[in-house]
Amino acid sequence: MRKTIKIFFAIIFIRSFSSCEDVIQIKLDEGTKLLVVDAFINDMRTPQRVRLTLSDSYFSGVNPPGVLGANVVLNDLTNSKSFNFTDIGNGDYNYNLNPLDTIAFVNHAYQLEVNYNGFKYTSTATEFRTTPVNDITVNYREATAFTNAGYYCVLWGVDKTGPVSDYYWIKSFKNGVFYGKGSQMNLAIDGAGGSGADGYLFIPPIASRITPRGEVFQSNDICRVEIHSLSLETYNFLDQTRSQTTNSGLFATTPENVKTNIITPNGATTKALGWFNVAAVGFMEKTIP
């Protein structure tokens, strides 16, 4: 909600005063290299991936370099099963599943092991329940002062009731391309943006944000929506990622470093960052008429 207010403030400023943004050149120091573990595993019947990179200078202008030669293992602690991920040589470590199978189950506990430079980095996660996408509705709207003409998709889904809060990451895609800007990140606690909406139909800003601000769908586009379950800690990590990647303007908050749930072993010279989560996913695709 704070987001919505910020946007509105921004509109007022742009319209009433000549506030402006200019891209500038500044020189930043070079930070020490960190091992970044990007491990968002899910229960979909698709290849699972863990990406290992080293942090890069902020203005490098390229994707951070992949880490090769590491060893990545996912342990299902509930089932006592292990899955070895294959280094494909660009920083990605894949587990190629049989399309009828899945490695992730609700309520199972998992451990991730990354062996890098002789040190074992670990993390644990539990897969929480998710909720299905009941429907995606599509409406055509004419252009307005702030929006474009086109099809607007809205998500219909209901939060699962009690006993504890559910945390969701609602990912939407246009023709297979993820709306992946920080400002497009769509998170929910139960049916709303904060607590107090247990068992709710997803409320408007969340339900309608599958068509992100400034975006529209056209005829024959495919809109895909996935609802990923999150732990509270993962929700906080993504929320922090969202605020740190969109932290601008008059009401910017003090920049802070995102947290990590990857444990750096004692004695390791390279500190680890990044996140490990195992999600259950509800999804649906719809072709715009």
Partner: protein, 813 residues
Amino acid sequence: MGINILPFVIELLMKHCLIFILFFCSSCLFSQEVTNTVEMLPAKPQAGKFTISGFIKDSGDGEILIGAIVYKSGTQISTSTNEYGFYSLTLPKGNHIIKISYIGYRDTSFEVELTKNISQNMECKEKGRLLQEVIVTTEKEDKNIMSMEMSTSKLDIKQIQKLPALLGEIDVIKTIQMLPGVTTMGEGATGINVRGGNIDQNLILLDEAPVYNASHLFGFFSVFNPDAVKDVKLIKGGIPANYGGRVSSILDIRMKEGNNKNLEVNGGIGTIFSRLAIEAPIIKNKLSFIVAGRRSYIDVLAKPALAKENPALKDAQFYFYDLTAKVNWQINNKNTVFLSGYFGRDVFGAGFTFNWGNATATLRWNHVYNSKLFMNLTAFYTNYDYQLGFKQEGTSQKFDWQSNIINYSFKPDFSYYANSKNKIRFGVQAILFDFRPGNAAITDDQNNITNISLENKKGLESSFYLCNEQKLLPRLTVEYGLRWSFFNYIGGGTAYYYRDTLPNENKPLDHETKFKDWETIKTYNVAEPRISFNYVIDEKSSIKVSYNRMGQYIQIVSNTAASTPLDVYTPATNNVQPLIADQGALGYFRNFKNNMFETSLEVYYKYMQNQLDYVDNADLLLNKYLEGQLLQGLGRAYGAELYIKKVKGKLTGWISYTYSKTERLVRGISNDDWFFSKYDRTHMLNTTLAYDLNHRFTFAANFIYLSGTPATFPNAKVQVQGYNIPYNTTNTRNNYRITPYNRLDLSITYHFNKKANGKRQSSLVLSVYNVYNERNAFSIFFRTKEGDPVVTEAVRYSVIGSIIPALTYNFKF
């Protein structure tokens, strides 16, 4: 810890205070009317000495003059009028020539034969716009040298009116930002930062009622209507014991009483809003009022265009308004009653509603017991609230949120003019705080309402003070005193108790305890000693030294660069310790060229305890476990301030230069080391000058140069799930600075009337803000380039990115 007796102490104090008041009240209201010169009731005369006392007013409109010097001609025996225009001067029996001096007014004198205590009210005549340069007075314009005040700036509303202003609208807060030791985060940021203090550390008083959000339109204008303001005083250090509750500064704004002789209308038609103020006597010289209002009209002007662009915007709302009013009734020479109030709101809406505003009401009663004892009794109410609502068209889904902070206060203050060497002030105050941080509800599509409101919180702050301004030696004056403040965090409500954890982590909840209405949850008290010395070297120069301790029991909860109207306050609770600041200041004051130039050089050091900070990714709004996310740390600030002010002549204005440093230390932040606070500015140069060319034209200019504020920049890019996350591997906060701020503003005022002090006045002001079109950085932020997800870039954000001209027509009749 032995603090449990405090509630009883407070209760006792309150009882005493009440008895005290009743005792005084019973004897004095509606005592018989006295004529202009009367024998005063018994104030025990010292052997062979008598007291002359009364009120000093403006002869033109009957407004009281605050801080006018009253002295015996040819001597150093002097006093000055208090906030209500009252003076009391004790002299030996015999004939005396008494003079009154007040800047911008002709010197006035009268002869008096003192054989008993007498009351003498006087009126002073204002000099015209250009007369100041003609009459060069030589006496008693050295108030800045002689008075105890240091680290204090008084602003003359007439001087403010000459200066160039944003969009042509002069503004009290904007002018205060030009003073030494005062900074702001930049355009669009509400409030002021005084000597390294946060914006919530300033007690902003409008006729003694605190104003919690002093800005309209997110800080572009302040809520104080200049047509209704009489006197503005900013106290940054050497804060007298009669003030308390905030640790960094007191901004004491007094409203006009209203012309008690003639009808007067002031107004202006500007680019953004229009103003109108009406003041008049109801009973001449006795009962008068002022009503002043403003409203912005961009919305009215823009509505047709907006409606054409998009019918949905037909109902868009964006405006602000305020209304300031005061009634002043001089019942007799001994009793005056003032009732004043302010009400203002900012309203925004377009498919949603968002509005906020302050309301204040103050009732005051001045009573003169005798020629030596003066009382002011104030009761005030203040309320800041905001409302926010979203609604989904065509469904019942909606979200509504309302928040308030309400204060009720009662405070009698007494001044006892014991003799020509001692002036004693004492008083008590009680403030009841009613915090309503969030009344919020979500309604779903089935019309089910979920209440997500936070509990209200209550606090009672009570205090008493006693201080004496004593002339120790002919050249040495000392003011010493103590304010003792007490705070009770009270129910009904739930108190949350947390376990300790790593610094900068959410504290885990240990248990919750319910408290009944008015039950004490936690108490605090702070003994606040205040002392200041003034050593007069000669009539042109003096040295002043001061130390004060201040306590503060409420703090704003905000981690944004500019404070938003949505920010809420938290009282001191079982988890939040009160803020305490100690400040020492040393100053050298010197006047040049017959007091034409007033200069001062001051150094200060301030140490603050229990300043709020926040754990990473804290959730500050509508979070009942907020206190588990608060951190408290230390602050220190020091600096030197040079101030050169030209008060007379065709050219008036000031140059101020401040060198300063402001740092914080919070466990868990920035590797547990000191870091620069976000409003640290090493160098600050403010120049503001006005030049009266002739009877027709006044030119004015502002020039500002400020070092860039500190900021945290990343040194690494971390990629997770395709997001390029900026990361600072050194983990230090505020490790860089943004570019310095500099700006020039100019204005020309054309006066339609040649006669400067005539009754009818009108003028046209052409002002240009940001003349050389500087794009000053408010902040620098980092983002992924639009359309290229691997490239990251730095962006300078400027709130004002162009020249802003404006035309304003002002009138008075």
